[in-house]
């Protein structure tokens, strides 16, 4: 293994660790409520873009199960949502040539909104709560996640192994 590749691997590991710290330590410390950016979802989308559809789906399952274990409103709902999002994120990259920061930010926003949609549907949310949750809360949550993901990419894009157009 070359020294450059080893350094890249360390950077990537550090980036994942950074996301975990952001999700589980910084987020509860700084943000309150459901509009807080979802750093686990950002990590999932970036990893899916880098490693492909199959790995994205597998990572989605893991992230989703972790979410289900922490918020067991309906066990399996989050796993299903993240699996779908991980798979679709990797495929979308192939279609949209996601080497642009705005495109990736859009990916993140759509991914967050789709995740919320699948979670709400799979956890048995009725019509009365679904519409406002999808039209008001989920877009704001998606926006916060997209902004946080863009900032992270601007700062650490090489660590995540994401190539962006200059």
């Amino acid at each position: 293994m070359s020294a450059a590749r080893a350094a890249t691997r360390w950077q990537f590991t550090f980036a994942i660790g950074l996301l975990l710290v952001l999700q589980f330590y910084v987020r509860p410390r700084l943000f309150d409520g459901r509009y807080a950016p979802d750093f686990a979802l950002i990590g999932l989308v970036l990893l899916a873009i880098r490693f492909g559809a199959g790995a994205g789906a597998a990572l989605g399952l893991i992230v989703g199960l972790a979410n289900d274990a922490m918020t067991p409103a309906r066990f399996g709902a989050s796993a299903l949502a993240h699996t779908v999002v991980g798979y679709l994120a990797a495929w979308s990259r192939a279609f949209f040539f996601a080497d642009n920061l705005a495109v990736i930010a859009g990916f993140l926003a759509v991914a967050a909104w789709t995740r919320d949609l699948v979670v709400l549907l799979a956890s048995g949310t009725s019509d009365g709560g679904l519409v406002p949750a999808l039209l008001v809360d989920a877009p704001l949550h998606a926006l916060a996640t997209a902004i946080a993901g863009s900032l992270l990419l601007l700062l650490f894009r090489s660590w995540f192994g994401i190539r962006l157009d200059q």
Binding site: G33, A69, A73, L80, V119, P132
Partner: protein, 370 residues
């Protein structure tokens, strides 16, 4: 990439996706008990470091807020420290307002809420106390405002509370005077922040006024009687002329709760009394804040004999007022009511029994409630 290399990779991705999709669907349709066991297993093993990390993060956030509150309290205390009777009265008052835990007695565990990012978060809450701290399943979870939910699952270090916004939540409830009983359950909307409660199974002849308090009835043995659930916000619907369903405004908000109390075998009577006393104290504080300052020439208020500064019936505590400053024109001694004036009777007044200053409470000054 050549097609011959691309195809097997795509096929592998598709198979992997199908496998993950199948596993997640399987998890979704697992019996609830199995799902809870898997979730508990994950929290206690692979996710334990992350739960610990989040606990520290949440602690940091709340400790900052606590630090600010304590600093503010310390500054206030320093400002009023020169006047010990007032300070004692303020202490009593703050204890009355905030000492829900003291009133409930030893049977509770205080816990911190670890927030998540999923939209279904308000239906269940992850708490940072578990069986190692004495938490047991089916223990009521309360906030200072009232009933928040019930413990559904308990691990060694964490527990899951099902809040009143959860579709499966039910509590047997009665009106405050005990005349009208029914079942309180969440409305059929799914978003936890917009869900309210319904007071169902009320016979058509019974009516509840808007604003009436509804409390837990104590039936079933899970929720102690008298635990506040919500206030009536109007009639939700009427069914076939035999049942009326009321809309309840819940008192406790799951989305706003950062600290909760988990009741563990607390005496129902004490719980009921604690919430009643907290409500009285809040009313008294609001009344004291809203009450106009009496003129300086008003007669000195009577000093209560009891050791608490709050009247037992929930009325506003008698306020003593000092002259604003030395620029005010001199007034006769009797026209200057002071808290300590009862300890030294003025000449000309009939002798009265002097209360023990260590046991008799001095009414709080209105500005000491800050």
């Amino acid at each position: 990439m050549p097609r011959s290399l691309e195809r097997p990779e795509q096929r592998r991705d598709t198979w992997l996706f199908a496998l993950c999709l199948g596993l997640s669907t399987l998890a979704l349709f697992l019996p609830a008990r199995w799902g809870q066991r898997i979730a508990a297993g994950l929290r206690n093993t692979a996710l334990a470091p992350l739960v610990w990390l989040q606990d520290r993060g949440a602690e940091g956030r709340t400790s900052r807020a606590r630090f600010r509150a304590v600093s503010a309290q310390r500054d206030s205390m320093a400002q009023f420290a020169f006047d010990l009777p007032d300070l004692k009265a303020e202490n009593d008052r703050l204890r009355a307002l905030m000492g829900l835990g003291e009133r409930i007695g030893p049977g509770f565990v205080s816990a911190e809420v670890l927030r998540q990012t999923l939209p279904t978060e308000g239906r269940t809450l992850l708490l940072d106390k578990g069986s190692a701290d004495g938490v047991k399943p089916f223990s009521p979870v309360v906030s200072p405002e009232g009933l928040l939910g019930v413990i559904r699952e308990v691990d060694e270090r964490t527990s899951i509370a099902m809040t009143w916004a959860h579709p499966e939540f039910r509590v047997s409830a009665v009106s405050e005077n005990g005349d009208i009983s029914g079942i309180a359950a969440p409305t059929a909307v799914g978003d936890a922040s917009r869900t309210t409660l319904e007071f169902r199974a009320i016979t058509y002849r019974d009516t509840l006024p808007e604003g009436a308090l509804v409390v837990a009835s104590g039936l079933g043995g899970v929720y102690p009687r008298g635990l506040p659930v919500g206030t009536v916000a109007g009639v939700e619907r009427e069914q076939m002329g035999w049942e009326r369903v009321y809309r309840l405004r819940p008192l406790a908000r799951p989305s706003a709760a950062s600290h909760v109390l988990i009741l563990q075998g607390a005496e129902p009577l004490r719980v009921s009394e604690a919430f009643a006393a907290a409500a009285r104290a809040a009313k008294a504080a609001a009344a004291a804040k809203a009450a106009p300052i009496p003129p300086a020439a008003a007669p000195a208020p009577a000093i209560p004999e009891s050791t608490t500064a709050l009247p037992p019936t929930g009325g506003a505590p008698a306020a003593t007022v000092r002259p604003p400053d030395s620029t005010a024109p001199p007034r006769p001694r009797r026209a200057r009511p002071r808290a300590d004036s009862a300890l030294a009777p003025t000449p000309g007044t009939p002798p009265t029994a002097v209360p023990d200053p260590t046991t008799s409470a001095v009414p709080a000054r209105p500005d000491s409630t800050r």
